[in-house]
C-alpha cells in the first residue's frame, strides 16, 4: 500500500518539455505561478490556463496524470472554497436562516479553485517532466551565488539527492517492519485515532534506528570514495541551455504580459 506514494514522480518521455533545461523549467513554473496569482479576471485566468494547456500538450503526457495529481488536494479545494463562499460579504444571492451566499463569495471561491488547480497542475508538470536528480542539480546551480554568502548550497543538494535515493529503500523497510509487527499481533487498522497513532510507535522506532545505521554506513562508504564536500567537484552531466529554452521562457513572459494587459485594460475600463 505504501508503494503507491507518488512524491515528485517522474515520467520519462521524449518531448520538447522533457528536453528543456531544468533551470528554465523552474523559472517558467515560477512565471506561471506569478501569472495565475496576478490574474484578476476570469479572462486573464483563462489565458494563464491556456499557457498551461499548451505546455501540457507539448509534454505528451496523458491527461489522466493531471487528474490523478488532483486527487489528494480535492478536500483542500472544497474546504477553502466553502469557507470563501460563506464568509465573504457582498450582495446576497441566496439565504437560508443565517447562512447566506454572496456574489463576491462565489466569485472569490471560483478564483480560488482555479488558482489552486492551476498551481498543482503547473508544479506537477515540472516534476512529471524532470527527473528528481536533474531537478536537484538545477536547484544547486541556481543557488550557487548564495554559496558566496556561506550558504551550504552543495550540502543541501547532497542531502536532497540522498533523501531521494533513500525514499524507496525506506518505504520498503517500513513495509517490512509493518509486516513484522503485524506478525507479532500488532493491530494498526482498527481503534480510535489515538490508538492507531500509538500503534505507529513500534513502526517508527525501528525505522529510525535502522535509518541511523544506514546513515552511518553510507557516510563511511562516501568517505571511502573520497567524498570531501563540494569543493573541487565535477559533474558527470552538466546542464546545458539552448535556443529552445530561451524561446520557452519568452513565451511564458509573453503570456504573463498578456495577463497583465488584460487586467490593466479592465481597470482602465
Amino acid at each position: 500500500m505504501l508503494k503507491d506514494i507518488t512524491i515528485g514522480q517522474y515520467f520519462p518521455m521524449d518531448s520538447a518539455v522533457h528536453k528543456l533545461d531544468a533551470r528554465f523549467k523552474i523559472v517558467i513554473t515560477a512565471v506561471f505561478i506569478v501569472m495565475i496569482f496576478s490574474a484578476d479576471s476570469f479572462l486573464s485566468l483563462g489565458l494563464a490556463f491556456l499557457f498551461f494547456v499548451i505546455a501540457f500538450a507539448a509534454s505528451k503526457l496523458s491527461p489522466k496524470l493531471i487528474l490523478k495529481s488532483m486527487k489528494p488536494i480535492i478536500p483542500i479545494i472544497i474546504f477553502t472554497s466553502v469557507l470563501n463562499i460563506f464568509f465573504i460579504d457582498g450582495v446576497t444571492v441566496f439565504q437560508i436562516w443565517k447562512i447566506r451566499i454572496t456574489d463576491n463569495g462565489l466569485i472569490t471561491s471560483g478564483y480560488m479553485i482555479i488558482r489552486l488547480i492551476a498551481l498543482i497542475c503547473g508544479s506537477s508538470l515540472l516534476t512529471y517532466t524532470t527527473s528528481p536528480i536533474v531537478l536537484t542539480d538545477a536547484i544547486e546551480q541556481m543557488m550557487k551565488p548564495l554559496g558566496k554568502l556561506h550558504f551550504p548550497v552543495h550540502e543541501l543538494a547532497m542531502m536532497m539527492t540522498i533523501a531521494l535515493r533513500f525514499i524507496p529503500t525506506l518505504i520498503e523497510e517500513t513495509d517490512k517492519i509493518m509486516s513484522a509487527q503485524k506478525a507479532r499481533g500488532a493491530d494498526m487498522d482498527s481503534g480510535t485515532l489515538i490508538e492507531r497513532a500509538k500503534a505507529l510507535v513500534p513502526i517508527i522506532i525501528p525505522l529510525f534506528v535502522s535509518s541511523f545505521r544506514r546513515a552511518e554506513e553510507l557516510a563511511l562508504a562516501m568517505e571511502c570514495r573520497c567524498y570531501n564536500g563540494g569543493e573541487g567537484r565535477t559533474k558527470l552531466k552538466s546542464l546545458v541551455s539552448g535556443g529552445s529554452d530561451y524561446a520557452a521562457l519568452c513565451l511564458s513572459l509573453l503570456f504573463l504580459c498578456g495577463v497583465m494587459i488584460i487586467d490593466m485594460g479592465r481597470v482602465v475600463l
Binding site: S131, P132, I133, T161, I162, L164, R165, P168, T169, E172, R213, R214, E217, L218, L220, A221, M222, E223, C224, R225, C226, Y227, N228, G232, R233, T234, K235, L236, K237, S238
Partner: protein
C-alpha cells in the same frame, strides 16, 4: 613481489564507554583488537581473510584505507603510511572498499550517477568521467542498466554497481568486506565472478573478507584470523587441510574437504584433505568406487 598493503606490529583497540567497566573493573576501557598483527598483501594477488565474528578481520579492512588508524605499529597502503593525513585521498584512490549492504553504499538514484560519484569527488573532467563510468559498468556487466534506479535492481546487481563505483576510481586494490553476506546464491555467484575477473583480467589486487568457505576456496591465498592474530596463512588447499584447527576457531571447511576428512577418520588413509573443489572430490570418489 611488492606488497600493496602491509601491517607491521599493528596494534589497535577500541575505547569502549561504560558497560564493560563494571564487568572487568579495568581503569581504561580498551577493547583490544590487535596486539601485534603482521600481515602483508601482495600486489595482484587474490587473498581471502577468514575468521569468526569479532576476530578483527573487518577492523583490519578498515585500516587498509585509513578509516581507522593504528594505535601502534605501522600500516602501509599503496606505498603511503596510513597515519599521514595529507595522503588520505591518495590512499583511498588506490585502495577501494566495498561493504556488506549494497543499499547503504549507493549514493545516487541513477546507476551511472552513482558510479560517477567517486570521480565527481576527485574532480575528474566530465569527458574522461563518461569514459571511465562506462568502462566500469561494462567491467561488472551492468552497462545496460546504467539509467536504472538502484531500487529496481536485485541485491547482486546492486552490489555489482557498488563495485563499479569503486572500479571507476581505478584502484590498485579492492578490499571487500563480506560483499556477498546479504545476497542470494545467484547474487553471490554474480559478485564472485566479477571479483575473479577483475583480479585475473585487470590485475586488481583483491582482499575478500568472507564467511563462505567455497568463496575462500577460489582464492590464491587464505588467511585465517582468530582473536586478532593470524593463525593460518597459506594456499586454500593447505589451509583447509587443517580441519581440526579450523573447527577450534569456529570455522567450517568446504564440503569436499569435510568429506575427505571423514573418510580419513574412518580409515581411508589415502583420502587427501587437501582436496577443496567438488571436481577433485568427485574424481577421488570415482577412483575409490572403481576400486583403484
Amino acid at each position: 613481489m611488492d606488497n600493496i598493503i602491509s601491517a607491521k606490529d599493528l596494534m589497535f583497540y577500541y575505547s569502549e564507554p561504560s558497560e564493560e567497566e563494571q564487568d572487568n573493573g579495568q581503569e581504561e576501557n580498551k577493547v583490544l583488537v590487535f596486539e601485534d598483527l603482521n600481515l602483508s598483501i601482495e600486489k595482484g594477488s587474490f587473498t581471502v581473510i577468514l575468521g569468526h565474528n569479532g576476530c578483527g578481520k573487518s577492523t583490519f579492512a578498515k585500516h587498509t584505507n585509513a578509516i581507522l588508524l593504528p594505535c601502534g605499529g605501522k600500516m602501509t597502503a599503496a606505498g603511503f603510511d596510513t597515519s599521514d593525513e595529507s595522503r588520505l585521498f591518495d590512499i583511498r584512490k588506490h585502495i577501494g572498499m566495498v561493504f556488506q549492504n549494497p543499499d547503504n553504499q549507493i549514493v545516487a538514484s541513477v546507476v551511472e550517477e552513482d558510479v560517477a560519484f567517486a570521480l565527481e569527488n576527485m574532480g575528474v573532467p566530465p569527458e574522461e568521467m563518461r569514459v571511465r563510468v562506462d568502462e566500469a559498468l561494462k567491467a561488472v556487466g551492468m552497462y545496460e542498466y546504467r539509467e536504472h534506479s538502484p531500487s529496481q535492481l536485485s541485491g547482486g546487481q546492486k552490489q555489482r554497481v557498488a563495485i563499479a563505483g569503486i572500479i571507476a576510481m581505478k584502484p590498485d586494490c579492492i578490499v571487500l568486506d563480506e560483499p556477498t553476506a546479504m545476497l542470494d546464491p545467484a547474487g553471490r555467484r554474480e559478485v564472485m565472478k566479477t571479483i575473479k575477473r577483475l583480479n585475473r583480467e585487470n590485475g586488481v589486487t583483491i582482499v575478500l573478507i568472507t564467511h563462505y568457505m567455497d568463496e575462500a576456496a577460489q582464492a590464491d591465498r587464505v588467511v585465517v584470523m582468530d582473536s586478532g592474530r593470524v593463525i593460518l596463512d597459506n594456499t586454500p588447499s593447505e589451509v583447509f587441510s587443517h580441519v581440526e584447527k579450523l573447527r577450534e576457531v569456529g570455522l567450517d571447511v568446504p564440503q569436499s574437504t569435510q568429506l575427505m576428512y571423514l573418510l580419513r577418520e574412518n580409515g581411508r588413509k589415502d583420502a587427501d584433505t587437501h582436496i577443496i573443489t567438488e571436481e577433485e572430490c568427485a574424481d577421488f570418489l570415482e577412483r575409490l568406487l572403481r576400486g583403484e
